[in-house]
């Protein structure tokens, strides 16, 4: 049984069909990549799943709950967290505070309890801070907790953003180009890290990525979008040899030759 699926999902912007009749199933504890040329509708798909956009048609289903029409904060409570293509941390908050914001839904303190400093509030804060520090260590940022997010180096910001998403304790984690702008060594570290996430914590991961090395290295399933339509789906090796995919990436005409190169 899939953890998350979309059924005939369609999202339009005026006349432009950004996602066209998309059926997709994501298995539990898998790493599922979504690839496609620029403007294929990958990020739009993420925005639909997380409630930033409301699709015109179709259904998004998380373990029997429909996500369509819910607000982003309701969806994250159901266990869907995400990162952004262009990193969107809270720049003027510290690294640890960024993570603590992620814990928001798991903390129960209310106004009065906070002002009075009740034992419950204190305990809860302390536990959250300790868990936050653990997460910082997990993403290799131990010791940077008190730095402002905007002062962290690029790679650290990427990892902090993932840690913040992890703090919401998601079942599904949507990563939007986590290896963008990284050199081969950093990309490899990111691949290891994502695999580690899934293996250690059993989180299902949906990945948008342009670097084929990353995609082919870690995905169990790859879905290929072009102009909002699904043109192929399968294991990395199936996708690499699929002529439709090659055509979408390189344009028609070059399909035959490219197919040969990819196969060889």
């Amino acid at each position: 049984m899939p953890l998350l699926k979309t059924i005939r999902l369609t999202k339009q912007f005026g006349g432009l069909v950004a996602i066209d009749d998309l059926d997709m199933e994501v298995k539990e504890s898998s790493i599922h990549s979504v690839i496609g040329p620029n403007g294929a509708g990958k990020t739009t798909l993420f925005n639909c799943i997380t409630g930033f956009y409301k699709p015109e048609m179709g259904e998004i289903d998380l373990m029997g709950h429909s996500l369509v029409g819910l607000l982003p904060d309701q969806i994250v409570r159901l266990g869907v967290a995400r990162t952004y293509q262009n990193i969107r941390l809270f720049p003027a908050l510290t690294a640890l505070e960024n993570i603590l914001v992620g814990y928001h839904t798991h903390l129960k303190s209310r106004f009065l309890g906070i002002v009075l400093g009740t034992p419950h509030t204190r305990r809860e804060e302390k536990e959250a801070e300790e868990e936050g520090l653990k997460l910082l260590r997990f993403v290799n940022l131990a010791g940077s907790g008190d730095q402002l997010a905007k002062n962290l180096p690029y790679g650290a910001q990427r990892r902090l953003e993932i840690a913040r998403a992890m703090a919401t304790k998601p079942k599904v984690l949507l990563l939007d180009e986590p290896a963008a702008g990284m050199n081969p060594k950093e990309s490899q570290e990111m691949i290891d890290f994502i695999r580690h996430l899934r293996d250690e914590l059993g989180i299902t991961i949906i990945l948008i990525e342009h670097q084929m090395k990353v995609v082919m290295g870690i995905s169990e399933t790859v879905t290929v979008l072009d102009y909002g339509r699904k043109i192929a789906e399968g294991t990395p090796s199936e996708i690499q040899n699929n002529p439709k995919v090659i055509e979408a990436y390189l344009g028609s005409g070059s399909a035959a030759e490219a197919g040969v190169t990819a196969a060889g």
Partner: protein
Amino acid sequence: MVQQEIQRSPWRSALNIGLIGAVALVLLSLIGMVEVFNKRDIVYKILSMGQILLLGTTVFIAYLAAKRGGEDMPAKTIGLAVIAGLTAAAGLALLVAVGKLVNLRDVLINASPVLFMILTFHQGPALGIPLLLLTGMLCGLAAALIYLAPKVISRSLVGALVTVAAAGVLQDTLRPVIGLWGPVSKINRLLFAANGLKVSGAVVLFVLMVVILALWNSKADAVKTRFDSLPAGRQRGLRLGGWLLLAFILLILPHLLGLFLSEVLTIVGLYILLGLGLNIVIGFAGLLDLGYVAFFAVGSYVVAILTSPELGFFNLGFWSALPIVVVAGVLAGLILGVPVLKMRGDYLAIATLGFGEIIRIVVLSDWLRPWIGGAQGIQEIPNITLAGYTFSTPQEIYYFILAGCLLVGFISWRLRDSRLGRAWMAVREDEDVAQAMGINLVATKLMAFATGAGFSALSGAIFATKIGSVYPHSFNIIVSINIVCLIIVGGMGSIPGVIVGSFALVGLPELLREFAEYRMLVYGAALVAMMLLKPEGLWPDVKRRRELHIEENDETDEPAAEPAAAGS
């Protein structure tokens, strides 16, 4: 060609800075500021406030030019500063020369003979103009030396000079206050002449301040290191001692300061209360609310309606009215909050601005006149009484406002480092992402509006009982703008910043009432300077060091820390 534009020669920029300085000096003279300020002597018969204004401006301008030189090239630095100082002074010299040839007074009424006397050191233009230019060069030299001197020395000297100038400017405030202090009041005779400081007094004060500041500047780090190396118990003891001392000073303050300054303190205190409330809305949650005075009005009017025997509706006491006032404030906050939930940035600012005006116009209207008095307002609001004791003079009301500030400051501080405070700051930083982290935007924003409005209403209630009456015109848009400014000047989101901002933007103008004519001008100039030089504010928010703090707790005195923390 392109390179030339990018790497403009420092001599060119020194000249440009000097020209800007010249324009500033001429402007200060022609708007009459120099002449008005000149009536007050800083050092009796030697140095007037008007001269300080001109000298200070010139030194500042020359300092900016000196910075282009760099510390490793002293000759160049001095040259640049002198050029800037000379250019600035040349502006004034030109004004004097033109004033001699043409009667400027037909157009510029402040170009009076007195002004030219001041500008030429009472020597006439022939001798005055060379003197003026020489002074400009000396200002440049002084600025360069300040820039080149070791930081400890330059900071101490500048600090001491500023203290002497401040003592002279605030003489009318200081003299009566020092006069209250029994035997210590002898200082007055040592320090002050009929108008301004005595020469001996000024010198003594200057030397004393240089010594104190030099000690402070050079030893502060050493003291801090020693404090950090003390055992945890001693540290806690010393901190507690510090807090007790502060509490003691706060308690006896109105008796040290006398009636007038206590009155100023109460006004500053009310603005601190208001500022802390708006700081939650603007500083924490980033919602630019320009109609904040509305809640202040709600608080004032509700307390007036509930307690004033003139109206005779309820005749409640202050204490029974207070919870109703705060609830009314919170409700008003929610009423404003709901329609503007979807708005961001400038749109929110304009909508809230409108809300502030609506409240003022509603209380002014004839329609509600039978109940809340229209333009005549409501009088006879009784004083606050507590356990048979009436708070009526500023010195007594001070305690009440102090208690309010402490309470509201404490609540702000607790909220800042909590789930709620973090949610507010997340909304401020990036609303969409905050929502994607599970933050309910509606609840979080409404909470910010409601909390801020509650504090504002509390402040309004105290204001109404302090004055004893309420009028619609007290709730002008300027009050809102003032509070926004003091938050920005103090430092967005910073609790101590609100306090510093209130003293700087509300307290200081109260003390300098005789120059009220120039209040808005100085205010505007100060804001612009602030945004350019120190945009983070006078006392910016310092992030709590959690990571170290937690590890410290884990390792050392976990059981000991718990009861101490619970007691606070």
